[in-house]
Assembly symmetry: C2
Homo-oligomer: 408 residues x 2
C-alpha cells in the first residue's frame, strides 16, 4: 500500500463486516456508484476487512474502478473488500477518527449486521463529541434476518431460496429411498432466531404440503433430544420418512446445547466446540430407531450461492447501499437504511432509514404469529411474509405419480 | 394395488435403483416415451422401489400417464418410482421371473449403478437358462461416475456442476473472512473413486487458478491425517486460507478410516459408523493450528439439485433410457447403454451399448493422467474431460479488486 499524500477533496470510506453473503457486494456497488455519481466526493475508498483495515490503513481506491468490473462484483458472492469481525478496543475509536481526519474521510458507510451497526454508531457519537466532521451510515446485511426495524435483511432472501430448494430436494430423496435414509437432518445456520430454519419449509408448493419437514426453532426450544426423537417417530409412523431442519447452534429450553453439553473439543484459541446438532441427532436416531439416518450441512455455500440467489434480494441490497449514500449526501448521519414493506400482493418495499441505535445490539426473533401451533413448523402468515423475498419463480414444478393409480 | 387380470399384450417393466439423482427421472421418461411410441408394448409398468417392488408386485401403470406430467417428472429430481437397494437372495431370481411371466412382462429395463447392472445381468442369464422370453437392458446412473465402459455416468455432470459452484463459493467466503474460518473442508460423496471430489476444482476459471482447493482423492490416499495437516499449513503460509475437498468415506493408504478407525457408534442394524472426515479434520485443525476451521457437507442436495443440474446431463440421461428401449425393440438383450465420446471441441457423445457383464461389479477409478503430481489436485486433462459434462455456462463470472491497486 502506498499513500501518496493528503487529498483536499472529501472522501467517502466504505467497509464490509461479518459473514459474507451472496448480496453484500451488491450493497457495496450501490454505495460506490451513488457516491461516484453524486459529485460530492473526490474519492471513494474501501477499507479492507472492515474496521480492522481502517485501523491498519489498508485502503483500496474504488471510485475509478472499471464500471464493467463493478457490474461483475455486484453479482459476485462473498465480500470484495474482505470482512472483519474486530471488536473495538480501548482507544480504537479515537485512532479510527484520527486516521479518517488524516485521509480526509468525512463520510463512512458500514455494511454489516448489528455488531457493525454498533461500531458505526459509536464512531458517529465519538465524532460528534469531538467535533470531527463525519457522517456515518450503516447498511444492514445478515442472512440471520434478525435485525429490528427493517422488514427483512439483505442476504436472507437468497439463503432462504437456497435452503427452500435444498430441503425440498433432500425430502424428495428420502421419499424415493427411505431404505437409504428414512430420517434426514438438514443442519442450517441462523444464530438466536429461527428465520433461516423456517425458510426450509418454503419450497413446498400448495400441492406438496404433505411433504413439509419438521423445523426446530430457537423460539420453541425442545426440552431435550427425546422430544425430537418422538416427533421423528410420529413422522415415520405416518409417512415412512422424516426430514428435520435443525439450527446448528440449537439449545434446549433450559439452555443446554442440543447436540450435547460437553464440549467436543477446545480449539487453539481456547474456545469450546459443542457437538453438531445434526450429527448428534443422526447418531441418536441411528442408535435408537431401526432406520438409517444422515444429515446434510449445506454450510457456507448456502449463504454464498449466486446461482440460487434471489433477484429481489440482489436489487434490495443494492438499493440499501445506494440509499445510505443518498442520505449522507442529504446531510443525514447516524442512520441505518432499512426496508419498509408497502405491499404484499404485489410485493413492494421502499428504502427508508432510522437512527442506528434502534438497530444496534438488538435481535428480532420469529413472532408467535409465524410459528405453527405444534412448534415444529410455520404458519401461512410466515409464508406470505417470506415467499416474495425469494424472488420470481424460486422453485421449479416437481411431479409425482399418483399413488392411487397403482396396479393394472 | 389392484390386479385386473392378465394382459395378452407384451409388457415392458422399468425400475430405478440406488441413490436418487437430479437426472434419473429423465432416463425413466426416456424409457416410457420410447416404449409407448414404439407400438411394440401393450403396457409399460413401473416397479416401485426397484427389484423390491417387482418381488412384491407393487406396480404402477406408466404408458397412459399424462404427457404433461411426464414432462414435469423428467425434470423432477429424485426417483419417481422410488429406488431400491435389495440384495438378491436365494430364490429371488426365479420368483421375479415367475411374476414377470404372470404379468406378461417380456422386457425389463433397470436404471441404476453397478449393483443394479448385476441384478439385471443375473435376471437375463436365468431367463435364458430357463427359456423364458425376457429382454433385459440396464441404464447407467451414478453420481460416482465409477462405471467402466461408458465415457461418464448420468448424474455426474449435475453433481459436478453443483459442487464446482459450492466449492468456489466456499472459497470466496474463506478469502473474504479468513478470521471467521481460514480453513474449510467441503465433505463430498463418492465411494471408492475420486470423480466427485475432483469436480470441486472445476469452478475456478482460468484467471482463478490461484484459488483452487486441495482435493483429497481415494486414488492417492494420505498416509494419515498429519499429511493433510501439513498440506493445510503450507496453504495457510502461502495464501492465508485453505479449502480442502474431502470424500466422506476417505481412508488412509493402509485402509483405516481417515476420520478415525474407532466406530463413532453402532446403528440399530448393527452397522458401525465412523467419524466424518470433515468433522475429524476440522477438529484436528482447530486444536493444532491457531486458526478457525469449519466444514460444509452439501449432502443429498448436491446430487438432487435440479436448479443447478447440467442440461447436458439431463439430455444424456434421457437418451440412455430411450436408447435402452430402442435396443430391446431391435431384439437385443443383456446390454447396458453407454456414452461414447466422439468429440471434445465441440463436445459430443453418442449412445452405444455393451454387454452388461462388462459393467456389473467393476469400479473405474480416476486414471493417473487426471491426477496432479502432488496428489492434491487434478490435471488439465481432467478439466478437458469433465468440464463439458457440466453443460453450457456452468459458472457465472466472479470479480475481484486488484490487490495491486491498494492505497491512494
Amino acid at each position: 500500500m502506498t499513500y501518496k499524500g493528503f487529498s483536499k477533496l472529501p472522501t467517502l470510506l466504505v467497509g464490509q463486516s461479518g459473514g459474507a453473503t451472496a448480496v453484500i457486494n451488491a450493497s457495496l456497488v450501490g454505495v460506490i456508484e451513488v457516491a461516484r455519481d453524486s459529485g460530492q466526493f473526490g474519492r471513494v475508498l474501501g477499507a479492507r476487512n472492515g474496521i480492522e483495515g481502517l485501523l491498519a490503513e489498508r485502503f483500496i481506491l474504488l471510485h475509478d474502478q472499471e464500471p464493467e468490473l463493478l457490474q461483475v462484483i455486484r453479482v459476485t458472492p462473498s465480500a470484495a473488500l474482505g470482512t472483519g469481525r474486530h471488536k473495538l478496543k480501548e482507544g480504537d475509536l479515537d485512532r479510527a477518527l484520527a486516521i479518517m481526519r488524516q485521509h480526509g474521510i468525512t463520510a463512512f458507510v458500514y455494511i454489516g449486521g448489528n455488531d457493525s451497526a454498533d461500531t458505526a454508531h459509536r464512531l458517529a457519537i465519538r465524532a460528534a463529541e469531538t467535533g470531527q466532521e463525519l457522517r456515518v451510515a450503516a447498511v444492514p446485511k445478515t442472512i440471520d434476518n434478525d435485525l429490528p426495524e427493517t422488514d427483512h435483511c439483505p442476504g436472507y432472501g437468497s439463503i432462504a431460496r437456497y435452503l427452500a430448494n435444498a430441503v425440498r430436494d433432500a425430502t424428495y430423496d428420502s421419499i424415493a429411498s427411505p431404505q437409504l435414509h428414512a430420517v434426514k437432518f438438514v443442519e442450517v445456520m441462523g444464530r438466536d432466531a429461527g428465520w433461516v430454519a423456517a425458510s426450509g419449509v418454503l419450497g413446498f408448493l400448495s400441492d406438496e404440503r404433505d411433504l413439509e419437514p419438521l423445523v426446530l426453532l430457537p423460539e420453541r426450544p425442545p426440552a431435550d433430544v427425546e422430544v425430537v426423537l418422538a416427533a421423528v417417530e410420529r413422522d415415520l409412523q405416518t409417512r415412512g420418512w422424516s426430514v428435520v431442519v435443525v439450527p446448528e447452534t440449537l439449545r434446549t429450553a433450559d439452555g443446554r446445547h442440543l447436540g450435547g453439553n460437553e464440549p467436543d473439543y477446545i480449539d487453539g484459541f481456547g474456545h469450546p466446540y459443542y457437538p453438531s446438532t445434526g450429527a448428534a441427532l443422526t447418531r441418536l436416531v441411528s442408535q435408537r430407531l431401526e432406520v438409517r439416518a444422515r444429515y446434510d450441512k449445506p454450510g457456507t455455500a448456502a449463504r454464498m450461492s449466486i446461482s440460487l440467489a434471489s433477484a429481489v434480494d440482489q436489487d434490495e441490497a443494492y438499493a440499501l447501499g445506494a440509499g445510505a449514500v443518498e442520505r449522507i449526501v442529504a446531510g443525514e448521519s447516524g442512520i441505518v437504511t432499512i426496508l419498509r414493506r408497502t405491499g404484499d400482493d404485489p410485493y413492494a418495499c421502499v428504502v427508508d432509514a432510522v437512527p442506528i441505535e434502534r438497530v444496534a445490539n438488538t435481535v428480532r426473533r420469529l413472532p408467535d404469529a409465524f410459528i405453527a401451533g405444534d412448534g415444529f413448523g410455520v404458519t401461512d402468515a410466515f409464508r406470505r411474509y417470506a415467499t416474495p423475498l425469494l424472488g420470481p419463480e424460486p422453485f421449479p414444478r416437481y411431479g409425482r405419480f399418483d399413488e392411487g393409480r397403482q396396479g393394472m
